[in-house]
Amino acid sequence: MKKDINSNRYIFMYSTILVIVVAALLSVAAIFLAPYQKNNKDNEKKINILSAAGIPNVNTDNAKQLFEKQCTAMYLLDDKGNVIDESGKAFDTDLKQELYNKEQGKPYGLPLFLINTDTNLAYVIPLQGTGLWGAIWGYIAIAADGNTVLGANFDHASETPGLGGEITSEGFQKQFVGKTIMKGNKFVSIKVQKGGIASLPEADRNHAVDAITGGSITSKGVDEMIENTLRCYLPYFERIKK
């Protein structure tokens, strides 16, 4: 008997089976490949943390080794700036989730990485924010004085290439080196200034960088991301200064 391959019954059965088979196949592949992908992601994270701290020439091959050598500690911090975990759990902590817990009034732990560069001890803080189209994130390294920025890098999920996407460019990230986040005793963060830092009074120029032309909303996102995240870490810096 020849089946009618255009009957509704057949079409429903056919599509159901097809979708189940494909879904099963993709799940198996995803599970099988997950460890490799996690390894790559971890490597990338290590590269980002190290290069934010100002360590030159970090690449995929030496990232793991350099990270083990130069990362002296990984902390999780509570709301008063106390270290609540030193076991290295910080590396796999998702900042986004922790910031959400903070908002909800639940207990949380903020990750912090201590990188020993040859000249400095850098406190590398992960950043998490929103750009124009999606998430933006990055790392900023603060020196032991709790004030000077040693370096920063950013990445994004889906900002416009050539406009907002320029936050990943070296030119934009280099601007942060040497800026200070405190004005006297007041926290002012690093402003991402539309119109350029030249439009600011002399005294404020050390707390700001040039925004990206055509990337105003992304620039504002970076600005807010740095301010909001750094604010959470202030208690810790207060403590280490004492």
Partner: protein, 207 residues
């Protein structure tokens, strides 16, 4: 054997998907600034066209014609996700450079075009070869375009410097225009021009 040759070789020349059928131009502009991503993109598209052709050809007698495009899309999408996952696992840096373009292989006209035009009406092995040939034809053009763009735009090939430093000291400069997308289109145009001059039968005669 002649059939085998025809299916593999013809798409490299007289039925090339980019220069003759002018399909898949979008990704050709986007990923050809450097050779390495272009090559990986070429391989990815080849894998997807070859295997989607093979799978669709095996299923072709059972596919209800009313949902055949959806079935094709599901197969192509599954293969593309697989390729994307493999790239993320084994060539992470290239997969970051290609970013959305791997996902966009789903919408690459070459894939759907070959499924509709060939795989739905031919045997599995022939379809596989046809997909392979068309994927290779696409890769060939991508690699040629990327070769010129990387060489003239950055002075490197696969990231290695090939134009010696002494040239730069003598006043030679990289052509920044080559890095920009329009140059990919212009190079494809030149390839088409050369190809049609050599094969007059490809020219349109509107007499």
């Amino acid at each position: 054997m002649s059939n085998f040759k025809k299916l593999i070789i013809e798409p490299l020349r007289k039925t090339n998907p980019i220069t003759v059928l002018v399909l898949g131009i979008c990704s050709c502009l986007a990923v050809t600034a450097k050779l390495k991503p272009a090559l990986v993109m070429g391989i990815s598209v080849t894998v997807v066209t070859a295997f989607s052709n093979l799978i669709i050809s095996c299923l072709r007698k059972g596919i209800p014609s009313r949902i055949r495009i959806i079935v094709q899309l599901v197969v192509v999408a599954a293969l593309v996700i697989l390729v994307d996952q493999f790239l993320k696992a084994f060539v992470y840096d290239v997969s970051k450079q290609l970013s959305v373009f791997v996902g966009l292989i789903i919408t690459n006209c070459i894939v759907m075009g070959r499924l509709e035009a060939f795989a739905m009406s031919h045997k599995p092995w022939e379809s596989f070869l046809d997909g392979l040939g068309n994927g290779l034809g696409y890769s060939l053009i991508l690699v040629i375009v990327a070769f010129f763009r990387e060489l003239l735009g950055a002075g490197t090939l696969f990231g290695y410097r090939v134009i010696p430093q002494s040239f730069y000291e003598a006043g030679y400069m990289n052509n920044g225009l080559m890095i920009l997308p329009p140059m990919a289109l212009i190079i494809v145009g030149i390839i088409i021009w050369i190809q049609r001059t050599r094969h007059p039968e490809l020219q349109d005669n509107n007499k």
